[in-house]
């Protein structure tokens, strides 16, 4: 009798575990039965954190019943997660290269560029190393944080250095652009290479040092729906919203340029 109870409890526990695991496994695309609306998961480049959070709220207001969840991170990491089967419905990358990875893996098709971004040097507000131009980053005394070389912000920064003709030896290679910004805000480094939009979003927490147009480099932001999405129509609606005048207005206000 007692043994039976134990078995029953064990079985119930196993069943519950099974249920919850299958539930969480498809959390990004659950509630597929209800046609009224769904939850979509948008994988977006870290540099889109501020704008996409705002766009998500606006989209939810415009589409009652739909919910947008975000996973922000380095485009290279997000594309790797998507090709490994992460439950994304939309991917917004900070560079075409990372979108190409996803497209060539057959996980997305027909990406469209929705924004463009350029680089700026961010320093702590008091600018301890007196950085006045991007050339100062080549100085040995200046501690610089960059993105990892496979992350778009690392790729674009390398292009800028090539344009200027300097070699920069960073003290740290951060996982994404927001963590470069965090090191600058904390005052751990003297300068970091971030996007124009990051300096703008950080407000008074960092000081921006502009890079001349001739030296600067830019990156295009493509967006696409993911083929395996169980919420294709909602995903497409969100993508359309990003490309719509309302979406473009939010992006432009944050410092992004039109593609």
């Amino acid at each position: 009798m007692r043994r039976f109870t134990v078995i029953a409890v064990a079985l119930a526990a196993v069943a519950a575990a099974g249920c919850s695991s299958s539930g969480s496994g498809s959390s990004g695309s659950s509630a597929s039965a209800s046609p009224a609306g769904g939850t979509i998961t948008v994988f977006a480049a870290a540099s889109l954190m501020g704008t996409f959070t705002q766009l998500g709220k606006q989209f939810e207001t415009a589409h009652p019943g739909d919910t947008v969840k975000f996973s922000f991170g380095p485009s290279s990491g997000l594309s790797e997660q998507i090709t490994s089967g992460a439950p994304a419905d939309v991917f917004a990358s900070a560079a075409p290269a990372n979108m190409d990875t996803v497209v060539s893996a057959g996980d997305a098709s027909n990406p469209q560029n929705f924004a463009q971004n350029t680089m700026e040097v961010a320093t702590p507000p008091n600018n301890p190393a007196k950085v006045t131009s991007v050339n100062d980053l080549a100085k040995k005394s200046v501690k610089v944080a960059l993105c990892q070389p496979q992350v778009p912000c690392g790729v674009v920064a390398a292009e800028v250095f090539k344009n200027v003709g300097i070699t920069v030896k960073p003290v740290t290679l951060q996982p994404d652009v927001k963590s470069v910004l965090a090191q600058v805000e904390l005052g751990s480094v003297d300068a970091g290479m971030v996007y124009v939009t990051d300096v703008m979003a950080a407000g008074s927490k960092v000081n921006g040092v502009k890079i001349s147009a001739s030296d600067n480099a830019s990156t295009e932001y493509p967006i696409a729906t993911i083929n395996s999405s169980k919420h294709k129509s909602e995903a497409q609606a969100f993508m359309n919203y990003v490309l719509s005048p309302a979406g473009q207005q939010v992006l432009t206000a944050a410092g992004f340029e039109k593609p």
Partner: protein, 285 residues
């Protein structure tokens, strides 16, 4: 290799039980099912690692400059943090085990806190203390021009912060349970306190000291959260094996798997050496 290890252990376990008299040779069914699920849950991921391993090009994946640098950095920083833990953690373990003073329990709680603290929180704490704008780091920077973050020193500090409590706990426990009769005898025979500590106490707890040091080293080797938060990441400077694995997954998954296999191999060696220590510890007491 890993697949063989558990069955080898169960065979040994079975033999030991049989030798004991075989009181409970059969496992009750209600325990067996969940136990099997637990085994599957713990072992299957490792099987996944072995199945996906790029056996053909492991050598190529590991011979990359970044992988070699990361391995060398990890090995020496983990060893350095273990040596530091031995030098300052063992005396602290003695203080906690053998002396009594007000606030001792609070002190023990404080110094073992990193055991349960999420490592990334430890990294943030280290950054706010020893970072360039931290309340200690600020003066190091102003007075001596020393900046700790983004250097191998920061890696060693992060690893020591997270790993030393393992050694302290192991040694303190051994000191508490060790027979103090030998120490008293040595003292009666005229040995000075430091001599007693060196010649009697340390040899007495040597097995636990060894096990604690190996655990401490293994924990330091695997450190990720505190290291990447406090020391950042740069190949050859602060990019340790776990961090290299994390980034390699984005660029070269095969390399990430190959690096993971190296860490798995090291872990197995650690486990084997620990078993040895524990067995010797058992035979001594």
């Amino acid at each position: 290799m890993t697949v063989a290890a558990p069955s080898h252990l169960t065979a040994r376990e079975r033999a030991r039980r049989a030798a004991r008299g075989g009181a409970s040779r059969s496992v009750p069914a209600p325990l067996l099912a969940p136990a099997l699920i637990a085994v599957g849950f713990l072992v299957l991921p490792l099987v996944g690692l072995l199945i996906r391993a790029p056996w053909g090009r492991i050598g190529a994946a590991l011979s990359g400059a970044d992988a070699t640098q990361a391995l060398i950095l990890s090995l020496w920083t983990a060893s350095a943090s273990t040596l530091i833990s031995l030098a300052i953690g063992v005396p602290l373990a003695w203080v906690l085990a053998r002396s009594s003073f007000p606030g001792q329990r609070l002190l023990r709680a404080l110094v073992t806190l990193p055991l349960v603290l999420p490592p990334v929180v430890g990294g943030v704490a280290l950054l706010l203390a020893f970072g360039r704008t931290g309340f200690i780091g600020r003066y190091l920077d102003d007075w001596f021009g020393l900046t700790i973050p983004f250097t191998p020193v920061a890696v060693v500090m992060a690893e020591t912060f997270v790993a030393m409590p393992f050694l302290i706990i192991a040694v303190e426990g051994a000191l508490r349970s060790a027979d103090q009769g030998f120490e008293e005898a040595a003292a009666t025979l005229g040995a000075k306190r430091m001599t007693v500590f060196r010649r009697v106490t340390v040899p007495l707890v040597a097995p636990s000291l060894g096990a604690g040091a190996v655990l401490c080293w293994a924990r330091a080797l695997g450190e990720f959260g505190a290291t990447i938060t406090f020391a950042g990441s740069f190949p050859g400077q602060t990019e340790t094996m776990p961090i290299a694995v994390y980034y390699a997954l984005e660029t070269d998954p095969d390399a990430a798997i190959a690096l993971s296999l190296v860490l798995l191999l090291v872990s197995i060696v650690v486990l084997i050496s620990l078993r040895d220590h524990w067995l010797r510890g058992g035979s001594l007491s």
